[in-house]
């Protein structure tokens, strides 16, 4: 149907494409010229892109472009800028002691900000995102500390760990009184009842507290103290307070007495730099349970 001469629509005076369906023709409407020029300009612009930026994939590499730009280099540049921007505060942090950091509000804020991602990456898997702890993993928010809650104590624990593969790590473990045949089952049961009574938890009427007290004095008091107040030198928990690392359930206490306990805190000195460890100590201390350095 298309003839050599383009048909012109009578109504609009616009040439048609020659296509026609049931009397309906397709107009060959010209684009606004500015639109067309913009379109051409974008094509020219894209050619510029091919030349100056990485564009075409080759067999084993790609065309690098005249600007030599790469997204990796751009990230590195931004990281370098960030490091440079932080350098003054980082240097100050590196030279200050933990106590000095905590005493300087600006430095402490910086340390806390720096610690947030470090804590989330290294500590949160066991202690929880907010340091809330879990069964067997101490809550870092409360005011009960197994190994001490002052700034230096916390820094020491982070640096060398507890029962970790580190020369300066602190040891001390709960023996397995049942498994090793030191105590009989009824003695363990009585001791568990007695321990619950220390923190004023209810005990059944059938409990033999007298036997429990004797067993405690003979076996437990060495580490936990006569009154069950615990001993931070050995990481022996205070059994008289409201905080239980595992559970206040009698069965769980008895299980601990029978099989022993000994959770492990890794030594972070080998993985984190000293500045980060100091910052983390300040961060954890500020959760709310940190103990003051004065009035020891």
């Amino acid at each position: 149907m298309a003839s050599e001469r383009p048909h012109v629509d009578a109504k609009t005076h616009v040439a048609t494409t020659g296509h026609e369906w049931d009397g309906i023709e397709e107009l060959n409407t010209p684009l606004p010229r500015w639109w067309l020029w913009l379109f051409y300009a974008t094509i020219v612009w894209s050619v510029g892109y091919w030349i100056v930026y990485p564009t075409w994939p080759m067999i084993s590499s790609y065309t690098a472009g005249l600007f030599g730009w790469s997204s990796r280099a751009a990230v590195n540049e931004q990281l370098e800028r960030l490091v440079a921007q932080r350098a003054p505060m980082m240097n100050k942090l590196a030279q200050a002691s933990v106590a000095e950091i905590a005493a300087d509000p600006q430095l402490a804020d910086f340390a806390r900000a720096l610690s947030k991602p470090a804590f989330a990456e290294n500590c949160a898997p066991c202690h929880g995102a907010g340091g809330g702890g879990a069964k067997g993993y101490p809550n870092l928010n409360d005011d009960d500390w197994l190994w001490g809650g002052k700034l230096d104590d916390i820094a020491l624990t982070i640096r060398h760990g507890i029962r970790a593969a580190d020369d300066k790590t602190r040891q001390g473990s709960m023996p397995a009184f049942g498994r090793d045949g030191i105590l009989k089952p009824q003695e363990i049961s009585a001791a568990a009842d007695y321990v619950r009574s220390l923190s004023k938890l209810p005990t059944p009427g059938s409990a033999d507290l007298a036997l429990g007290k004797k067993v405690f004095a003979d076996n437990c008091a060495v580490c936990h103290g006569e009154a069950g107040k615990g001993n931070r030198e050995l990481g022996a928990p205070d059994l008289t307070d409201a905080i239980w690392l595992y559970s206040p359930d009698k069965a769980v206490i008895a299980e601990g007495i029978a099989n022993g306990r000994g959770g492990l805190m890794p030594a972070w000195a080998s993985r984190l730099d000293d500045t980060t460890i100091k910052a983390l100590a300040v961060y954890v201390h500020s959760f709310g349970g940190g103990e003051k350095d004065t009035g020891k």
Partner: protein
């Protein structure tokens, strides 16, 4: 159009053996119009750009447009230099968008980022005002106020000064290139670019202290982003006002499309009163017809209305997407009507309804107050009133609080329960304030602020600097008073000096 039916009939004929295939093809190709047919007076729907050479015009609406142009551009170019005293710490610029410090200043108003809903309110007001203007008097925005119209008008004024009015300009454009033509064109573009550059320059002055920035720009000390924005706006102003002009209205702007759906028969639009104008004809012919008592219109078909139109439409064909209703055709037609001794306002602000009424011999009416306009006005009054009220009564002291997500609560060694919160204090005044905390809903509870060194005298007031916020960690410990797993509490902060308070509600949780 019976073409389709013809083909169907022909096809039927062919099947019946009354027509051969070649015959059918010939028949079908004949029904395609081959151009040169009867020319309808409807314009092409689409066309390549036709250069528009609007003729200069004098009259009421031209004068209004000049006044609007001077006032709006004057405000735009000079407002950044208006000063406003905000004390020694505050910026002294009356209108300032301070990106770095996240503040917007407008004379006595200061907006913080969290109050950005005022912008939403302004947008609602702007939309409703646009609708109201449209319901009352059509495209007032397009014709007088739109930046595209105002700057294009300015660029046309420059163009006429350099290249002459319509006739001279058209003749020169058609003539071969001469030194004079090149010089005029070059001068025009230089002047356009200067206006465009000044436009971009004025824009960036709203984002920094204007006198300082002008000095920095002149000495090449200004931030690169300032030069970049001046460059971008120079290019867009030059392109939009100098080159694209009515194309922006025809192809790019959504408002003409929306406007067509919002207008009604009672809106005053720039209207050709066809009841008066038709049948159009030459002065002499219509004069003769009038003498014989035969129908004769006032329109003398002089095309002045078309020649002055900045978008090149013929108003006599009625309202259209291209007509920005600037009223210049009214001025042009009035001039002609005065010359030929006929009444003015053959083209005028009028309603479709009035055109119809005059045709049937009824007097014209002006129905400004109708459901549509009253509702727009009511929404404007409501939103505007609400915004003014909130602006006038807003607090200069604020506190917001977030409960710790992990842990939800902490049991302390003595069995007490402690909750942790992050608190942000807002001081929107230009003086340092000292704020004290209290907790409501939890009798006997104690408050701790770890990591905040407090004065040794036991005064637990927290310092918040002028026009600043401060974030704190707040610990609330309950000493056995708590009832249930969740207790509603409120944190109340009090300005020690003025006694002003702000409060934030949250919960205290336990096992």
């Amino acid at each position: 159009m019976p073409a389709c039916c013809n083909i169907a009939t022909d096809l039927h004929d062919m099947m019946e053996g009354r027509m051969t295939l070649p015959e059918l093809v010939t028949e079908a190709s004949n029904i395609v119009p081959s151009g040169g047919g009867p020319v309808d007076d409807e314009p092409p729907l689409y066309a390549p750009r036709r250069n528009i050479y609007p003729q200069a015009v004098q009259g009421t609406f031209r004068r209004i447009k000049w006044i609007v142009l001077v006032v709006t551009l004057g405000i735009y170019y000079l407002l950044p230099f208006v000063r406003w005293d905000r004390g020694p710490d505050g910026p002294s610029q009356a209108v300032l968008v301070d990106m770095a410090n996240e503040r917007f200043y407008f004379f006595f108003i200061e907006i913080w980022p969290q109050e950005v809903y005022y912008i939403t309110g302004l947008l609602v007001l702007a939309a409703m005002t646009l609708f109201l203007m449209n319901a009352v008097a059509g495209r007032v925005w397009c014709g007088y106020l739109c930046p595209q119209t105002v700057w294009t008008d300015l660029f046309y004024a420059i163009e006429r000064r350099i290249e002459g009015d319509r006739r001279e300009h058209m003749q020169r454009d058609a003539a071969p290139w001469t030194a004079d033509k090149v010089a005029r064109k070059a001068l025009k573009h230089v002047l356009w670019l200067m206006v465009a550059w000044w436009t971009g320059g004025a824009w960036v002055l709203y984002f920094a202290d204007a006198p300082t920035l002008v000095k920095d720009l002149a000495t090449f000390q200004a931030p690169p982003i300032a030069y970049a924005f001046i460059g971008i706006l120079t290019v867009t102003t030059y392109a939009f006002a100098g080159h694209m002009r009515e194309q922006v209205c025809l192809y790019m702007c959504p408002w003409p499309r929306i406007q067509a759906a919002l207008t009604d028969e009672y809106a005053f639009n720039v209207t050709y009163r066809l009841d008066r104008g038709e049948p159009r004809g030459s002065v002499k012919k219509n004069e003769a017809l009038r003498k014989q008592g035969l129908p004769a219109g006032d329109c003398i078909d002089c095309l002045q209305c078309v020649h002055v139109c900045p978008t090149g439409v013929d108003i006599r064909q009625g309202a259209s997407l291209g007509c920005i209703q600037c009223g210049l055709c009214i001025d042009a037609c009035d001039t002609v009507m005065e010359k030929v001794g006929r009444p003015t306002r053959l083209i005028a602000y009028d309603t479709d309804d009035n055109v119809r009424r005059r045709k049937v011999g009824q007097p014209p009416v002006a129905r400004i107050l109708r459901a549509r306009t009253l509702m727009y006005a009511a929404i404007i009054a409501l939103v505007g009133g609400f915004m003014l009220y909130t602006l006038a009564t807003r607090e200069t002291l604020g506190v917001s609080i977030i409960h710790d997500r992990n842990p939800i609560f902490v049991r302390l060694a003595d069995g007490d329960i402690r909750n942790g919160y992050t608190v942000r204090l807002l001081n929107k005044e230009r003086v340092t304030r000292y704020l004290t905390f209290a907790v409501e809903g939890l009798p006997g509870a104690t408050i701790d602020l770890p990591g905040v060194p407090l004065p040794p005298d036991g005064d637990r007031a927290i310092e918040v600097g002028p026009d600043q916020t401060r974030e704190l960690r707040l610990l609330i410990t309950d000493h056995g008073q708590r009832i249930g797993a969740t207790t509603d509490i409120a944190i109340v902060v009090t300005d020690r000096a003025s006694g002003h308070t702000a409060r934030a509600s949250d919960h205290f949780r336990g096992p």
